[in-house]
């Protein structure tokens, strides 16, 4: 245990509980002193603290000891009043306000970190003004009548040598009318030590006159009690004091170095001598003597059994007589007051044993007298004396508690006393490392006064922080409480400071309700101080608080926008959480040599296209990628980054989510892009004129309408309901060559808040990247090499149905457009599902459908040959002379057959070559994708059974069921494809189905006789698959033409059907059942033209 005198409390006590010397001086003395910027008391005060003296003292019982340290306090007589409570409060408020200004955290300073706080030393954490405030608070309680240590021990009478009739002035000074009430109302003994001081200002001339006066004084007031002090020896006032002793007395630190500029070192030494002599030769001996005197009196009246008994008896007797709130009034001559004075003097002279025994003696008296305030005061002193003795710690704390509780019970008049007592108690606990208990005491001394409580709560919070282990939750809680109190007292700066500290506790936790409130208040308060920038940063923290109630969210958003508006400038906020960007949905779609006819096509997996294009793209047999084969001259850079073409848009899909329950509207959503000149081009063609000037870098904002700029960005506005999620498609179109980087996305929340979000490139889910491009750096993901503008084909199939019935046969046209000036050639096409879609012959363009399919009498069968060959190779080559010229379009016939019911995805790739436009890209592909739904229509099945009577005849039964819900099919014909089969109906159609209409749900069965008919050798040459025989359904004499199942589209599709329905083998027979749907309203096709359906059933055996 350290010496109690060296603990903070000990030091405080040795400073605050010291003898008081009352100063009475004439105005002329003050005048002389004020030349130095100091009052007389201020001038002397620094020299009243002696740390290196050696004064022999004897205790009351003649025990000698020595005082090495001593201090006394100087006060003007006019200041020796207990300050008015209101005045005191006002003074404390000023202290707090000032501290708030001084201690206000810098705007730029970071919010404190808990770990950082914990690693620092206590003295660094605690605001320095606490100590100062506490001292001020203790001082407001000085000069109470129930304590004696503030009662002046001595009186210093000071007269200037310039004064008229100095001797009389001395006598006048100690005029009882002007003396403090303490002396006048009898609370203390007016007979105190007097010391006479004559001050001579050396600027007024030599000191001879003063010396004469001194002798005169000595003869009047006694030789030992008079002194002469010469000051202002410096004539020019240029004296500078290095360590100004008065610095601590001027809080504003303004011009401290000018203080005392007329005081030479000699003057200071003289003052020092004067004070030392005053203390060691006058004050201490006087107090010593007084202690002795009092002790004798006390012993004779109170010590011993007889006296005690008598005292008890006497007190019992007067119990009923006096019952005022403060107990009886004790004058200085009462034995109680004398005991108290004895105790206080002993305490001040550090005779703690005597002090404690005196206090104990009197405490019972006060208790019996119900003089509670005095009782509390004495208990307080007992506690402190025990502390200074460093013994019976429990007892010390117990006494403090009694004192504290007693003061509290007395209520508001002595509230401040309770506070002071609490402070001392707290300091005691802190010395004993009971910091947590100290915090509770702080909490208890919070009174009704809000400001006072605020300071106490803040101090309590630091106790929790400093306790071992730290109690951070309580630290935060008390800071918040304290901040609220400060706010109520309009101490905004203090409130902000405490809340900022509290942030450190709540940051990183999920206690969102609390955290949001803290940030919200800090933001509001900063805003009220006009510091909008900081306010905004705090408001941002709570902007996207999805867990808050709707009203809170509205409040937060409104306040935020309000504050932003007040700043009067645009706020760019990185990672603004309103709305939230779902970065995992980020999808970049760009076109290099691969182009897409529709967004749907772009969303298809690259692998699907790759496999489709495999044998179409030149020399892809090698394992290298397309770039390697295209040109060896392509710089590495191109291989490693994505390529896009000038003038073609890069599409970025991204999802925005509104985390709040209130609707928000977002304006001007656009990408942030940088387009810089290609570094290689800069090197190689540095003088070339087409290199973009450097200042085009960071071209971030470009309006859509600005054609001349090198980048065109799309802007999207949308509004989000509470909790809504929206997928936004943004585009950027580079217009010149260079390197394009997509940095992020930005949007406007209101007119003045711009949200930014930078894409972290490694999180980009890039759909288009090829699997082989594994090694490139992640930063290349959103980096594009923009190459010169190239032709790009656009393609679409105008009347491809989305929904159709199985079996439908359609004639479609593929339209290819070239918007650029350069022609493309060498077109090739591949279709993923030839069973459904097939390229037709150019000759079919502009023919009448379905008339073109009708069987012509003189049809040549050779067409079938060519088709059969074409079927084998997957890639359809357009004729070589076809090229799509500048701004023209090419139409090409396609055949569509809905082969089977279900959902079908059709992938079509068109390959084309560019004519020497670019060295980097020689060809491109156009990818088209269609989804369609095929509904079941007719279920056709055949059953073949041998005819029992004839060997080469078979009985064929056909079952047809209309599976649609509403459609009515006209049955048209049944054809057999294959070997030489003849077949005929067993009974006329009229008898089975007079209308030839198969209604929804209707089933039909009919029987045929199938006759095998051996063919001649000559017909072997022709393809056996494309020989047919037909049966026409319909009324007799129907002139409708039969359809030719052996010519181009039907035969092609039949071939695919054979493939799909099983391997072709001899001896089987295939049937094609053709129906028509007269109502053409499935699709919006021409209503009068019947839809043609063909159902292929193969291998019926």
């Amino acid at each position: 245990m350290v010496d109690p005198a060296n603990t903070p409390l000990g030091k405080m006590l040795l400073e605050e509980i010291t003898p008081v010397v009352m100063v009475l001086c004439t105005p002329l003395v003050e005048e002389s002193c004020l030349k130095n910027g100091l009052s007389f008391v201020q001038m002397l005060s620094p020299f009243c603290d002696f740390t290196n003296i050696d004064v022999p003292v004897r205790t009351a019982i003649d025990q000698p000891y020595r005082l090495h340290k001593f201090k006394f306090r100087l006060f003007y007589a006019s200041d020796i009043w207990q300050p008015n409570l209101e005045v005191a409060k006002e003074r404390l408020k000023q202290v707090i306000t000032k501290a708030g200004e001084d201690d206000f955290p810098e705007i730029s300073s970071d919010l404190p970190q808990v770990n950082d706080l914990l690693s620092r030393h206590e003295s660094e954490i605690l605001p320095t003004w606490f100590q100062f405030f506490n001292k001020e608070l203790v001082r407001t309680l000085s000069f109470s009548d129930h304590e004696a240590f503030d009662h002046p021990v001595a009186c210093l009478l000071v007269v200037s040598s310039r004064d008229e009739e100095p001797i009389n002035r001395f006598l006048d000074l100690f005029n009882t009318n002007k003396l403090p009430s303490l002396l006048n109302d009898g609370a203390m003994d007016p007979k105190i030590l007097k010391h006479y001081l004559l001050v001579h200002d050396n600027q007024d001339g030599a000191s001879e006159k003063a010396t004469k006066l001194l002798t005169k004084m000595r003869s009047t007031f006694g030789p030992n009690d008079c002194r002469l002090l010469c000051i202002n020896s410096s004539q020019d006032g240029q004296t500078r004091h290095k360590d100004t002793p008065w610095a601590t007395f001027r809080y504003d630190a303004l011009a401290t170095e000018h203080l005392g500029h007329f005081l030479k070192l000699d003057d200071l030494n003289e003052i020092k001598n004067l004070m030392q002599e005053l203390s060691s030769k006058h004050i201490i001996p006087y107090m010593e003597q007084k202690i002795r005197l009092l002790n004798q009196q006390v012993s004779s009246t109170r010590k011993g059994f007889r006296n005690q008994f008598k005292n008890l008896w006497w007190r019992k007797g007067k119990e009923d007589a006096l019952d005022t709130t403060n107990g009886p009034v004790y004058t200085c001559s009462s034995i109680e007051s004398q005991i108290r004075v004895l105790g206080d003097y002993a305490f001040m002279l550090r005779d703690y044993e005597l002090a404690v025994s005196s206090y104990r003696l009197i405490s019972t008296d006060y208790k019996l007298d119900k003089a509670w305030k005095r009782y509390a005061g004495v208990q307080e002193m007992i506690g402190l004396t025990y502390f200074m003795l460093d013994q019976s710690r429990k007892e010390a704390e117990y006494c403090m508690e009694i004192a504290f509780n007693t003061y509290l019970k007395l209520g508001s008049p002595v509230q401040q006393n309770a506070t002071r007592c609490g402070f001392w108690w707290i300091e005691m606990l802190k010395t004993r490392n009971q910091i947590k208990e100290a915090a509770t005491v702080y909490f208890r001394i919070c009174g009704e006064d809000l400001l006072h409580s605020a300071v106490m709560l803040e101090q309590a919070s630091f106790c929790y922080l400093l306790s071992k282990p730290p109690m951070l939750h309580k630290y935060g809680f008390h800071l918040v409480l304290s901040g609220d109190h400060y706010k109520k007292c309009d101490q905004i700066k203090h409130a902000i400071r405490t809340y900022r500290n509290a942030v450190s506790v709540y940051r990183g936790t999920t206690w969102n309700l609390i955290k949001d409130r803290v940030h919200f208040h800090i933001g509001q308060w900063y805003a009220s101080l006009g510091m909008y920038d900081v306010a905004v940063t705090h408001m941002l923290e709570i902007l996207a608080s999805s867990h808050q109630s709707k009203t809170s969210q509205e409040l937060f958003l409104r306040d935020f926008l309000h504050i932003v508006q007040k700043t009067g400038k645009m706020f760019e906020v990185l990672k603004l959480q309103l709305p939230v960007i779902n970065i995992s949905t980020l999808k970049v779609i760009f076109e290099d040599h691969r182009t897409y006819a529709s967004p749907a096509a772009a969303s298809i997996k690259e692998g699907v296209w790759c496999s489709l294009e495999e044998d179409m793209i030149p020399s892809l047999s090698a394992k290298s990628n397309w770039l390697d084969v295209q040109s060896k001259r392509i710089p590495r850079k191109y291989k490693e980054s994505n390529i896009c073409v000038a003038g073609e848009a890069i599409i970025v899909d991204i999802e925005f989510k509104n985390p709040l329950q209130i609707p928000i509207s977002i304006l001007s959503v656009s990408l942030i892009c940088e387009l810089s000149a290609n570094p290689e081009e800069l090197n190689s063609e540095a003088n070339s004129s087409n290199v973009e000037p450097q200042n085009d870098e960071y071209k971030t904002s470009t309006s859509t309408g600005d054609i001349n700029s090198s980048l065109v960005l799309s802007e999207v506005d949308f509004s989000l309901e509470g909790g809504e999620t929206i997928l936004v498609q943004l585009t950027v179109t580079p217009r010149v060559e260079g390197i394009l980087t997509i940095v992020g996305v930005k949007w406007k929340l209101s007119s003045s808040v711009v949200g930014l979000h930078n894409f972290e490139s490694n999180s980009v889910n890039k759909r288009i990247a090829k699997g082989r491009k594994a090694k490139h750096s992640p930063s290349a993901d959103l980096k594009f090499v923009v190459i010169k503008s190239l032709p790009r084909l656009q393609g679409f199939i105008p009347s491809l149905p989305e929904k159709t019935y199985a079996g439908e046969l359609r004639y479609l046209v593929l339209e290819l457009n070239n918007q650029s000036k350069f022609p493309v050639k060498n077109l090739k096409m591949k279709i993923s599902n030839p069973r459904f879609l097939n390229a037709g012959n150019q000759s079919y363009l502009n023919v009448e459908f379905p008339a073109c399919l009708e069987k012509k009498l003189n049809v040549e069968q050779s067409g079938g040959h060519g088709n059969a060959k074409k079927m084998l190779q997957n890639v359809f080559h357009f004729p070589e002379d076809i090229s799509v010229q500048e701004e023209t379009s090419l139409s090409w016939p396609l055949w569509f057959h809905a082969a089977v019911p279900g959902h079908v995805s059709l992938y079509i790739t068109v390959y084309y070559e560019l004519e020497n436009v670019s060295s980097i890209m020689k060809f491109r592909t156009l990818r088209m994708h269609y989804n369609l739904q095929v509904l079941p229509s007719l279920d056709v099945s055949f059953e073949l059974s041998p005819c029992p009577s004839r060997l080469e005849e078979f009985l064929l039964r056909m079952d047809v069921v209309n599976k649609t819900s509403s459609e009515c099919f006209q049955i048209h014909q049944l054809s057999s494809v294959g070997q030489q089969w003849d077949f005929s109906l067993l009974q006329p159609v009229d008898s089975i189905l007079p209308s030839q209409s198969l209604f929804a749900g209707q089933a039909l069965s009919c029987f045929f006789m199938l006759k095998y008919h051996r063919k001649s050798s000559t017909s072997e040459d022709s393809n056996p698959l494309f020989l047919q025989s037909d049966v026409r359904f319909g009324p007799p004499g129907n002139s409708e033409a039969l359809f030719d199942v052996c010519s181009s589209p039907l035969a092609d599709f039949h071939g695919y059907e054979r493939l799909y329905q099983g391997m072709s083998c001899q001896g089987n027979v295939d049937f094609v059942f053709i129906t028509q749907l007269r109502r053409g309203n499935i699709d919006s096709g021409a209503p009068h033209r019947p839809l043609l359906f063909s159902h292929h059933v193969c291998h019926c055996r």
């Binding site: 282990p469 939750h473 935060g476 809680f477 918040v480 206690w511 609390i514 409130r517």
Partner: protein, 143 residues
């Protein structure tokens, strides 16, 4: 009357806080619960050496505030249950009983395969069950 119950995770993260008052004092109750965690930590780190309190899940009265009494309970997975009540004379047995039932409800809630450990408990069943337990608090002793 019970004004607030809370489940706090082992990293002192709130998993479930529900107040049962009509007044808009959620923030205050959050503060009280948050604050009480210090006391829980203290209790846990300096257990009383006496026999029966060792390995005891019920932590007892954590601290009395001006208007509330705060009780704590610590599960073996270091999850804390906090109970804030306005009743001034609460029987220990009632509180124990409450926590026992609350613990059972909690275990059932976190046994849900869709519950992510360490995340807030969003189960409505749990909320319903808790409010039932809260409403029946103190009644069992009366019967």
């Amino acid at each position: 009357m019970i004004v607030c119950v809370a489940v706090v995770g082992h990293q002192n993260n709130p998993l479930y806080i529900q107040s049962f008052t009509d007044a808009d004092d959620a923030l205050k109750l959050h503060h009280i619960v948050h604050c009480s965690l210090d006391v829980v930590d203290e209790r846990v780190n300096n257990p009383k050496k006496s026999g029966p309190t060792l390995n005891e899940t019920f932590l007892g009265l954590l601290y009395p505030t001006e208007n509330y009494k705060v009780y704590g309970y610590l599960t073996n997975t270091k999850v804390k249950f906090i109970l804030v009540t306005t009743d001034l004379d609460v029987r220990d047995a009632d509180v124990r009983n409450f926590f026992r039932r609350f613990h059972a409800a909690y275990v059932d809630a976190v046994s849900n395969p869709f519950h992510v450990p360490g995340k807030k408990i969003t189960s409505r069943t749990f909320a319903d069950r808790v409010s039932t337990i809260v409403q029946s608090f103190g009644l069992s002793s009366a019967v």
